[in-house]
Amino acid sequence: MENLNKDFTLVGSKGSDSTEKIAKPALSFFQDAWRRFKKNKIALVAMWIIAITLVFSVISAFVVPQSKANYFNPNKSQVYGNLPPKLSGDLPFWNGDFKAPGSAEKTDVYKAQGVPEKDKYVFGTDKYGRSLAKRTVVGLRISLIIALAAALIDLVIGVTYGIISGWMGGKVDMVMQRIIEIIQSVPNLVVVTMLALLLGQGISSIIIAIGLFAWTGMARQVRNMVLSYKERDFVLASKTLGQSTWKIAVKHLLPNVSGVIVVQIMFDIPSMIMYEAVLSAINLGVKPPTSSLGTLINDGIASLQFYPFQLIIPAIVLSVLSLTFIFFGDGLRDAFDPRASED
């Protein structure tokens, strides 16, 4: 009751400075992106897997050179060939026990083939007696090199082409898009075969072959985004401020298209790894005895019914790698968009 006698006071109005205050601390673009990225746990795990894979691949180049993975003793392939995975005799799965083709019971293949006690193969061996673990490590490395190099071509050609096409518009855009359609309509296996003839089989011809075709998807995506962004008010504002076309592309278009670019790259990388696998599987890929994930899978298919581990191991590596790239790309897209944050 005593409150009634008090004078009326105005609350909540302390001048504009207090109302204009933003309490959230100011962050730089990358701090902010990282804060958003951390919220996506799957993407965070994917990022670590990719980072570890990359570091592992780089280090493995010194520990497991290609020649080591390719070497086998032709006189001993009866002893070392087609061994199942073995880490230690005490483990339930990794003990070297395997139901050999034709027999009804599991036997210790290592003992049966007379492998010395000290020799163990974590991922088993192929029919020549080469360690699958070593070959997978080398294969992973080569697949990654191909994918990343092709992604770089994808990025450079695709983004530039897309921005030019979208920005110019009109007749230029029309011609550039028709060129893309022509490139897409050429059966690329034919071109890959030609390139293999011209440059010889090998990593570089695969990179060029994939790079020549893969950028069209990127160019289309970027062009679509640029078409919509170039009509936005902030681009018009930039024009009236006298900003040069080049600066508009770099400062306004690229940052806004970056989400699409990142996602497209992250989806392209697994498809490039797959494409390399397909090419290797039809003998247009890397030259044997060099291993890539594709050649390993191809070799594994032949013995799927007898020695399934020879296919399963590289297939799992390939799938996990592809998935992590997709999840990582998804996380990056959200992280690069300040508007995506909910708070």
Partner: protein, 312 residues
Amino acid sequence: MTEPKKVVEIKNLDLTFNKGKKGANKAINNVSLDIYEGETFGLVGESGSGKTTIGRAILKLYDNFITGGEILFEGKDVRNLKGSELREYRSEAQMIFQDPQASLNGRMRVKDIVAEGLDANGLVKTKAERDARVLELLRLVGLNDDHLTRYPHEFSGGQRQRIGIARALAVKPKFVVADEPISALDVSIQAQVVNLMRDIQAKENLTYLFIAHDLSMVKYISDRIGVMHWGKILEVGTSEQVYNHPIHPYTKSLLSSIPSPDPISERQRTPIVYDPTAELDGQEREMREITPGHFVFSTEAEAEVYKKNATL
């Protein structure tokens, strides 16, 4: 009395989108108008009547679509500006956009948005000078140091619009096209932004082309008003003349549709329906001065009638 200096002169401007194609659209049809130094010229009209198009044409955003006539800025045709003259023009004429959300790049910090014109025109030499100028501009529009490193999505609509105003003012323009700067804002913020614009106008001696469809706001801020319909300007006069002594039937119809806050007069208000077929009878029309400074788009015969009935 000396004739005030003309900042912008538009002479018989024609502008067609998609010329020669299926969707050809003559957005501006034989428009002439003058904007004098230091004044606010209000442009009103219904949606799609070409208000924004005129504003953007002045700023050279639609150069490719202009099919006839010319736009003079301080006596020079803006379409022929090149090199240093063009750079100078870019810092003399600026624009405030309608949608504060769309007109700011969400990937840039406020500091960089406001400084864009400074960077593009090389108006600042050092980083310290740049920061100082940006801060000065933000304070001018009522924002503070806190806001320098923020992204546009962290601001309210009114704050965003003020960032847009700061960006336009950064290059110290003489002439600003305000393209419906307040239509995306709520009423209390509208007053805030309009008053801010008037304060700055008084401080920096700016000339505004104020585009809006809110008639009462246009009357409040404008010295002279042009009424547009279907890509043509139908009536130009001081805001007093246009509001209190409208001549053209379209203006009368437009004014009759303003709701009034008084329930008694509001109940008696009958909107005058405008019959646009009169515009389509194919007769040669041009801007004729009915009373001093008050022009109406009419034939000679119509002008005589208007003159006879004109009240002062």
